[in-house]
């Protein structure tokens, strides 16, 4: 198990290096000068040059890459061009929104999808199953930004149960924070739950067809017992894969939802940083996201091993 983890860790770091090169290269070729952007329509060229120097935008490619990477490794991501505060602080601030939001949405979608998938699988082919499958098809087809908009209309504008968006900050209290994240989490979670429920159902049905379920039934387990005790855990492997993918999606792919609910999350930070050419923020945050995805994949791999003993020895 340890060896397995170590070798996975090595390939993880290789991926990170490759990713950092790709990101750095992409950032390099983005047209548009942060200094020019900041100074606007009436700026004189020498003013822009002065600002460029101040921002540390001069220097060769390699030295800047190495500076960046060594900075990242020590947790120093530099100073944001536009905000003029450490990027690390910005990221920490935003993570305080994005991470709980992703976790909240993931928890919601899991809490909805697993029982629903289980139920549908248990009732395979009957009306309940068909109904659920139809609903999940619809859930997958509805764009989440559209769904989010409808949620806002109903719950914020019409019913005024919650704010239309924004985030008061955790210091306003856990309850307030969670309340502010509820609609966004629902908007993110429902389409994900639809996918997850389908995966859960088909994984369960697949395992239910396995020989060992027949063995279990021959032991005297009822259909439901066999489902719970034998099929569930085996079906968890594809479900875990999807969960891992979803987490990374939720962390970074929530940009549109963050816009709809004007949440100060990581996604919006990137979006904004790109338009403002705050490239130092862009490269560090993208790198961080890639790191998060790779880390989650790694954790999912470890989770596989926890679920499936056959993978432990490799």
């Amino acid at each position: 198990m340890l060896r397995y983890a170590l070798t996975r860790l090595l390939s993880l770091s290789l991926s990170l290096v490759a990713a950092s090169l790709a990101i750095f290269a992409a950032i390099e070729v983005i047209p548009g000068d942060p200094a020019a952007y900041m100074l606007g329509l009436n700026a004189a060229p020498e003013t822009v040059a002065a600002l460029r120097d101040e921002l540390g935008l001069s220097g060769t490619l390699w030295t800047r890459y190495l500076d960046w990477i060594s900075g990242l490794a020590t947790g120093d991501m530099g100073l944001s061009y536009t905000y003029r505060v450490p990027v690390a602080d910005l990221v920490t601030e935003r993570l305080a929104v994005s991470l709980p939001l992703a976790a909240y949405a993931l928890a919601l979608s899991t809490a909805i999808a697993l029982p629903v998938g289980l139920w549908a699988a248990a009732r395979r082919g009957r009306a309940a199953d068909l109904g659920i499958m139809a609903a999940t098809q619809l859930g997958i087809a509805v764009p989440n930004f559209w769904f989010a908009m409808l949620l806002v209309l109903v719950f914020a504008v019409k019913l005024r149960w919650v704010s239309a968006g924004g985030f008061p900050g955790w210091e306003a209290g856990l309850g307030h924070g969670l309340k502010a994240l509820t609609l966004p989490a629902v908007a993110l979670a429902l389409p994900q739950a639809a996918i997850l429920a389908r995966v859960m159902r088909s994984a369960l049905i697949e395992t239910l067809g396995q020989d060992y379920i027949r063995s279990a039934r021959a032991k005297g387990l009822s259909r439901a017992q066999a489902l719970r005790r034998h099929a569930f855990r085996n079906a968890l492997i594809p479900v875990l894969t999807i969960l891992g993918l979803q987490f990374s999606f939720l962390l970074a792919g929530a940009i549109i939802i963050e816009n709809v609910f004007f949440l100060p999350g990581l996604g919006r930070l990137i979006f904004q940083a790109i338009t403002q050419r705050d490239l130092i923020v862009v490269e560090s945050v993208v790198m961080l996201l890639v790191f998060a995805v790779i880390l989650v994949t790694f954790l999912v791999d470890l989770a596989y091993a926890a679920v499936d003993p056959r993978l432990r020895r490799r």
Binding site: R3, Y4, L6, T7, R8, L10, S11, L14, Q210, D211, Y212, R214, S215, A216, R217, A218, K219, G220, L221, S222, Q225, R229, H230, R233, N234, V307, D308, P309, R310, R314
Partner: protein, 510 residues
């Protein structure tokens, strides 16, 4: 559509009843109907009385209480019959727990005892192991432990040994026999292999197309063979094609000190398990027109050797010489050599690209030789030679039965007129009667075309019927070699003896 018709069977205490029949005859359906575990969509009618109580009257919930307690069942495929993510001890203990017969801790201890009883002593096979850490035979033992945990009155074993090799099969059958004697349960033993039953069953029922055509004491049924189907089955099992003596010829294929090592499996990016020698300095020769057998346990390296001979895998050491042309380890087999060999594989289902017509499938070897002008005629001719009709050429493979597919495979092997055909378990997947036909065909073709065979099988009776000489392989090495009759009657090596002892034999009628 009825699958079973009016099946009636009685099984007494301490009695072993065999249920034999061809594939698809309805044996498994009978067993599943008894357990009331028929696949969705299937419906059973009639009565199943266990100790006087009709199981058909029970509710599903009551039936759950009977399964595992009064009725136990084990299945053919031990590799998949166990939950891969649960420890074997827990799987055995579960039988006790779901029936409320023991607390968790007691059940664990009981499971350990049971596993010991079926030949998995805790010192060597702790109950904390997972199924993938056991071999097929060992897994089948776990299944048996699961099924007998509550000493059921009836144990149903559906082809429990088909997936196992002969030595393991023999041990499992012995275990079942001992358990019947010990616990007094009745055993319904389902198999397609009459030889298995003949050594074990007290009574025997023969099934054909969902009907029991004959039933009685095993010895009587097998020897008297009142029903023509029974006698056809027995005859086919013991079938031995008229072998032609080999015309004395020069050696066609010579293998010297062949070595095939597999790199150890990957462990992450850098690590590797130590390399494994699947074929370890093997030497042998096949004369022109000779049929050479190769036997050995599963995993001993037979297929690897066959692939190496065919040039499908590189050798790490040694030399192969076909008709004088030498191929050394490391260098690829040249086309002119390779075209003189061909092969027939075990799986009649995976051997053909389902999207190609029979004609195209058969003509594939022309890729090496270049398509001759008379290709169409050759295809027809070859189809006729293997007993198919030239009109079959436009059909697709899914329209053929297993036996027919194997004929097509042989046609493909024949079409480029090779000198040597390697048959890797070519008849193992076939029913006895179909197998008999194919063996006849092979013998006939050999006589007509002067072919040489390398015939690989784990089934000694088959090897005996079609080869003159045999090699016995163990863990990558040839441990014994000699004339088939001699090796099989009077084995020199201990391993060969063990193999022979394990092989079930059908008693010859007096």
């Amino acid at each position: 559509m009825p699958v079973l018709r009016q099946v009636s069977l009685g099984i007494g205490r301490r009695e072993i009843v065999g249920l034999a029949g061809e594939s698809g005859s309805g044996k498994s359906m009978t067993a599943l109907a008894l357990m009331r575990l028929l696949p969705e969509g299937a419906r059973a009618e009639g009565r199943i009385r266990l100790d006087g109580r009709d199981l058909m009257d029970l509710s599903e919930r009551q039936m759950c209480r009977r399964r595992g307690r009064d009725l136990g069942m084990i299945f053919q495929e031990p590799m998949t019959a166990l939950n891969p993510v649960q420890r074997i001890g827990d799987q055995v203990a579960e039988t006790l727990i779901v029936h409320g017969e023991a607390t968790r801790a007691e059940a664990r201890r009981a499971a350990a005892r049971l596993l010991h009883r079926v030949g998995l002593p805790p010192e060597r096979f702790p109950p904390g192991r997972f199924p993938h850490e056991l071999s097929g035979g060992q897994r089948q033992r776990v299944c048996i432990a699961m099924a007998i945990a509550l000493r059921p009155q009836l144990l149903i074993a559906d082809e429990p040994t088909t997936a196992l090799d002969v030595t393991t099969q023999a041990r499992i059958l012995d275990l079942l026999k001992a358990l019947v004697a010990e616990t007094g349960m009745g055993l319904l033993l389902i198999t397609h292999d009459l030889a298995v039953i003949s050594g074990l069953a007290d009574r025997l029922a023969v099934m054909r197309a969902g009907e029991i055509v004959e039933e009685g004491p095993a010895a009587t049924v097998l020897t008297a063979r009142r029903h023509p189907y029974t006698s056809a089955l027995v005859a086919a099992s013991a079938h031995s094609p008229a072998t032609v003596p080999p015309p004395p010829g020069p050696p066609l294929l010579e293998v010297r000190d062949a070595v095939r090592t597999y790199p150890g499996s990957r462990r992450g990016l850098i690590g590797r398990a130590p390399p494994q020698r699947a074929v370890d300095r093997v030497s042998f020769a096949i004369a022109r027109g000779e049929s050479l057998g190769l036997v050995g346990e599963s995993g001993c390296g037979k297929s690897t050797l066959a692939r190496a001979v065919l040039g499908l895998e590189p050798l790490q050491g040694g030399e192969i010489r076909l008709d004088g042309t030498a191929i050394r380890a490391g260098s690829p087999v040249p086309g002119q050599v390779r075209r003189r060999m061909n092969a027939v594989f075990q799986d009649p289902y995976g051997s053909f690209n389902p999207r190609h017509s029979v004609a195209r499938l058969i003509a594939e070897p022309f890729h090496l030789t270049g398509r001759p002008a008379d290709a169409a005629a050759r295809i027809d001719e070859t189809l006729l030679a293997v007993g198919l009709d030239p009109t079959d050429r436009t059909r697709f493979i899914h329209e053929f039965s297993g036996g027919q597919r194997q004929r097509i495979a042989i046609a493909r092997a024949l079409i480029a007129r090779p000198d040597l055909i390697v048959l890797d378990e070519a008849v193992s997947a076939l029913d006895v009667r179909v197998r008999a036909q194919i063996l006849d065909l092979l013998a006939d073709l050999r006589a007509r075309f002067g072919l040489s065979y390398l015939f690989i099988s784990h089934d000694l009776s088959v090897v005996r019927s079609i080869t003159e000489r045999v090699l016995v392989m163990k863990a990558g090495r040839i441990v014994e070699e000699g004339a088939t009759e001699k090796v099989l009657h009077d084995p020199a090596h201990a391993y060969t003896k063990a193999l022979l002892a394990a092989a079930p034999k059908l008693k010859e009628p007096d």
